[in-house]
């Protein structure tokens, strides 16, 4: 594979300007992430300390192998909803290494509202389990949740059940799960440890029951203590609901580590070679990426700062040039990459459909680097069959069996988001960069369209509305549109697996590939391509 020849000039004013602006965006995002992770009411922290409990992230530190990475998923989920009461949806999920085994971790974060499950908590856990199923990852559940969010139980109910369903599926697949009960697992929450192959409970703080002591008292009049009703000793000596009773969180986690060390190491699929750092400095990504999604950049320059040795074997370099396709290695794993260099035309769509089929024939995982305003429109293109060619791309996507990974690097609009394997097309993982924009249309188009509709409404209702009022309406509509097409907005609503600093993308994809390699690739089978 040949090294990509860069044309980037780090001394150019445009590069410097981009770098400064991108750095500011990333800094803001990291500050937001920091707040979501660590900003907690003091009394909650004091309460946990009093209960001899560790913070969720302290538990993670004990659990993970030192000196190994942790890929956190959906770190800013729910940050702008529920009055900020559920930062990260009160759940931490991510992929890490425990005693040498790559595992999915679900940790309830009880430092806020007792770790209650808000309407986005169950979807976050469900998504983590989905990833575990797709990648055959053992799961560690660090259970410490007050239970369903009482103000919105209906929002929790249906998706909550899917957590348990996914647990059963994992077990059926032969993928083991370990529950460490560090707090109360009440009602539905009680099934999380019960459905795990291995369950550890901490004496004193850990408890598992369908109904807690107050509910029991209300229902039957029976008065019973937490320990007697569902404590570690009861469950490990009487009911058999749990396996090990321990005296401290540290011991519980050490025990979990020991158990996981006994899991067999999965065989890795795909084509792996010795990893090599990119030849070009990944920090140059900041200078390459315009913060304004409307400005074009060459996706090869991004690929050059992400793949091993910056080497790339380009497919059809002279055809369908608005889509860059080719092969590279990422953390040693051979991948097929599809990256947008502009709007999708018929030729680029056909190129994509063909490339996707080749990757499936070779069993090579695919990475989609999105930056597209969608498929070309206009009479000439409709006559040329742009719609049926886009449909071929989608059909190839749907028939594909190799793992797919998607990064929304800048703009992702219209059907282009689908064709380039948006969330709706089941990528194993999908990440966005913090300045990225996405939606049915671009924010300005969307803003203008909405403003026009609203203005017509306004004029109908109040024909005497002044220019100022009209301008204000336009401004507000545009603001809303800008906000609601941002990557942060999408990520906060669990529409991706997390926002990433562009510099973190190589590692995130490396981990994603390693996980995906746990499963063999099935034979692809396609539907009918409209020719």
């Amino acid at each position: 594979m040949r090294r990509i020849q860069t044309t980037v000039d780090p001394k150019a004013p445009a590069f410097r300007d981009n770098a400064a602006r991108m750095q500011a965006v990333v800094t803001d995002f990291k500050a937001l992430q920091e707040r979501v992770r660590h900003e907690r009411p003091q009394r909650d922290i004091e309460r946990l300390r009093r209960q001899n409990k560790l913070l969720a992230r302290e538990r993670l530190d004990l659990l993970l192998d030192p000196g190994t990475p942790f890929l956190e998923l959906s770190s800013i989920a729910a940050y702008d909803q529920f009055n900020g009461e559920a930062p990260g949806a009160n759940v931490i999920s991510g992929i890490g290494v425990v005693n040498g085994r790559e595992v999915m971790i679900h940790a309830d974060d009880s430092s806020n509202k007792g770790g209650a499950w808000y309407p986005l908590s169950a979807p976050k856990i469900v998504r983590a389990l989905e990833i575990a199923i797709e990648n055959r990852l053992p799961v560690v559940h660090l259970c410490d949740s007050a239970g369903g969010y009482l103000e919105d139980l209906s929002g929790v109910y249906v998706m909550g059940g899917r957590v348990f369903r996914h647990q059963c599926i994992l077990s059926k697949m032969g993928v083991p799960q370990v529950a460490v009960v560090l707090g109360h697992c009440t009602a539905g929450g009680a099934y999380v440890p019960a459905l795990c192959e291995h369950t550890i409970m901490v004496r004193g703080t850990g408890a598992v029951f369908l109904g807690g002591p107050p509910l029991v008292k209300a229902a039957t009049g029976e008065e019973v203590t937490v320990e007697a009703l569902g404590g570690a000793d009861m469950h490990t000596t009487v009911s058999g609901t749990a396996d090990y009773a321990v005296d401290s969180e540290a011991e519980a986690i050490a025990r979990a580590r020991e158990l996981i060390g006994g899991f067999s190491q999965p065989r890795k699929h795909f084509d792996w070679a010795e990893a090599e750092a990119p030849h070009y400095d990944p920090r140059e990504l900041y200078g390459i990426l315009p913060v304004d999604y409307k400005q074009q950049f060459d996706m090869r320059e991004v690929i050059a700062r992400m793949v091993d040795g910056s080497r790339f074997q380009e497919y059809q370099p002279g055809y369908g040039v608005t889509l860059v396709c080719g092969w590279a290695r990422l953390w040693g794993c051979k991948v097929g990459i599809l990256g947008n260099n502009g709007v999708l035309f018929s030729d680029s769509s056909l190129k994509a459909a063909h490339f996707i089929q080749i990757c499936n024939q070779l069993g090579t995982p695919m990475i989609f680097l999105q930056n597209t305003t969608g498929y070309m429109i206009g009479r000439q293109y409709e006559e040329g069959g742009i719609t049926k060619d886009g449909a071929k791309m989608l059909m190839a996507q749907a028939g594909s069996e190799v793992p797919k990974f998607t990064v929304v690097t800048s703009g992702a609009f219209g059907a282009g988001y689908y064709g380039m394997c948006g969330r709706s097309w089941d990528p194993r993982l999908i990440f966005s960069w913090p300045q990225a924009k996405m939606g049915v249309m671009g924010p300005e188009q969307a803003g203008n369209t909405l403003a026009d509709v609203k203005l017509r409404q306004l004029r109908r209702e109040r024909p005497d509305a002044g220019d100022e009022e009209v301008a204000e309406l336009r401004r507000r509509t545009h603001e809303k549109s800008e906000r609601e097409t941002s990557a942060l907005w999408f990520s906060a609503r669990m529409q991706d697996d997390g926002v990433l600093d562009p510099l973190d993308t190589r590692n995130a994809l490396g981990i994603a590939l390693s996980c995906a390699a746990n499963r063999p690739v099935a034979e692809p089978r396609y539907g009918v391509f409209r020719m």
């Binding site: 005693n99 990893a275 040693g332 997390g498 990433l500 973190d504 995130a508 981990i511």
Partner: protein
């Protein structure tokens, strides 16, 4: 006793002293056997012997203390002499008598002398009667009823000793009258257990004393000579760990007087064979008779280094009835020698005996270095016997040279798999007071803090690396992880 040469020698001992005796005896063309209990890992000595005679007993120690069995072993193997080494039955008149009855020679003094010197009380009385200096004392057997009063009358501090004791067992210092009764009771218990004799005596305890001893040798024809003194004041728990000769504490005049006293005592007792007169030297230069050991002493090699004599060879000659054949004037002294006792014990835990297996053993070598070892690599070290593993002896033209050789040799020594005092010995040698020769039997206690390892800096990083990388499980586990995770390090998004 016949004057016939010894041809078949049974060594009724084990460890380094058995190996030591075997080497000299074999070099003289004597066929040698050694006794061994089935449960012990005998180490080096059985490998050196021509034959190994099994002995039995509930515990290995009991077997070595079983007179009848030792005599039977000697008879069965056809020994014409038995060397008892030190410890065990070396000072047992019973063994000497039983062997005599069996027509087998005992390499040691006649039983009458052993009996006289074996009982502390009678030995002191004998020495005092012959006009040699002894410390103020009180003897329980004189009048048991008034013993406590008489003990206090000696004047505090006092040292309690079992009348039948030796080797530091059962000795206790008493500095206040309140604890006297309790300490007497404890000492009596220990005396009963170790010696089958609970009788005690007390003597004035000399503060900051030095422990000086004189090597003597007598033949069956009335000649007695001395081989100079040994300084044995570096002690923990009343047991020596470093000995040297000449003593840095003695001037020529005192040395002459002490040696003269020792020879006088041996001569008065009709001493035959190798023996040691132990004395206490006060800070004021006064000295008292302490006891006489009627056997080869652990620390005899330092004397051999500076005199050039092989004391075991001399013992065998004397036992065979040969006259010494030389006079005091023929015994010269060359340079300085220091002995370090390498013991399986943990200085950080109050010198507790340690057990384990000698997985790695590296003994030092070089000019002026002698190693009297009884152990081999891989050997199991149990708690059945004394903790002494080997003696490291260093000889130089001066004390400084001997000391320098000792320090270099310790750096080249290694003993892994069981806790030893190796590093502790080096810290003693490095101590300014020891280097200056200015120490008493209280030295190790007084300098305990400085002799601990707290002040030493360790290469923690190297040690942790060695510990982790020699752990097969850890190394296997490190490799048993998708490689990318190790390469990524502690990355977080």
């Amino acid at each position: 006793m016949t004057g016939a040469p010894i041809r078949r020698l049974l060594v009724a001992n084990r460890g380094e002293i058995a190996a030591r005796i075997l080497r000299t005896a074999k070099a003289q063309g004597i066929e040698c056997a050694i006794v061994r209990h089935a449960a012990e890992d005998g180490g080096l000595a059985p490998q050196l012997a021509d034959a190994v005679v099994p002995i039995e007993g509930a515990t290995p120690v009991a077997a070595y203390l079983d007179v009848a069995q030792i005599v039977q072993a000697a008879r069965r193997w056809g020994a014409d002499a038995v060397h008892p080494g030190y410890g065990f039955l070396s000072e047992s008149p019973a063994l000497a008598r039983a062997l005599d009855e069996a027509g087998i020679r005992f390499v040691g003094p006649p039983p009458a002398v052993t009996e006289l010197m074996g009982d502390k009380v009678s030995a002191r009385r004998f020495v005092a009667e012959h006009g040699f200096p002894v410390a103020p004392s009180a003897i329980e057997a004189d009048d048991p009823g008034s013993f406590t009063q008489r003990a206090l009358a000696v004047g505090l501090p006092i040292l309690i000793k079992p009348a039948a004791g030796g080797g530091g067992k059962g000795m206790r210092i008493v500095r206040s009258a309140e604890v006297l009764d309790a300490e007497l009771a404890a000492a009596r218990r220990e005396g009963e257990r170790y010696f089958g004799d609970g009788r005690l005596f007390v003597e004035r305890y000399v503060e900051r004393p030095r422990h000086i001893e004189v090597q003597v040798l007598g033949d069956q024809h009335g000649s007695v000579v001395h081989f100079g003194e040994r300084e044995c004041s570096v002690q923990r728990r009343f047991q020596k760990i470093i000995e040297e000769t000449p003593s840095p504490a003695l001037d020529a005049g005192t040395r002459a007087r002490i040696c003269e006293v020792a020879v006088g005592i041996a001569r008065a007792a009709g001493y035959v064979g190798a023996g040691t007169v132990e004395l206490i030297l006060g800070a004021d230069g006064e000295f008292y008779f302490l006891e006489m050991n009627t056997r080869l002493q652990v620390e005899h090699p330092v004397t051999e280094c500076v005199t050039g004599f092989d004391l075991v060879a001399e013992q065998l000659r004397v036992a065979a009835g040969e006259p010494l054949g030389y006079s005091q004037a023929d015994i010269g002294f060359q340079g300085h020698a220091i002995e370090l006792r390498l013991c399986a014990e943990d200085p950080a835990q109050g010198f507790m005996p340690a057990t384990g297996s000698l997985q790695v053993l590296r003994e030092p070598a070089g000019p002026g270095v002698r190693v009297d070892s009884g152990v081999v690599e891989g050997q199991r070290v149990g708690s059945d016997f004394d903790s002494l593993l080997a003696k490291l002896i260093f000889h130089g033209r001066s004390r400084g040279q001997a000391l320098a050789r000792a320090r270099q040799a310790l750096a080249d020594t290694a003993c892994l798999g069981v806790a030893t005092n190796l590093d502790y010995l080096d810290r003693i040698l490095a101590h300014a007071q020891f280097a200056a020769g200015d120490y008493s039997t209280a030295f190790l206690d007084e300098q305990a803090a400085e002799l601990g390892d707290a002040g030493e800096t360790h290469s923690t990083a190297l040690l942790l690396a060695a510990a982790a990388l020699s752990d097969g499980h850890m190394v296997a586990a490190a490799a048993d992880m998708p490689r990318l995770y190790a390469q990524m390090g502690a990355w977080r998004n």
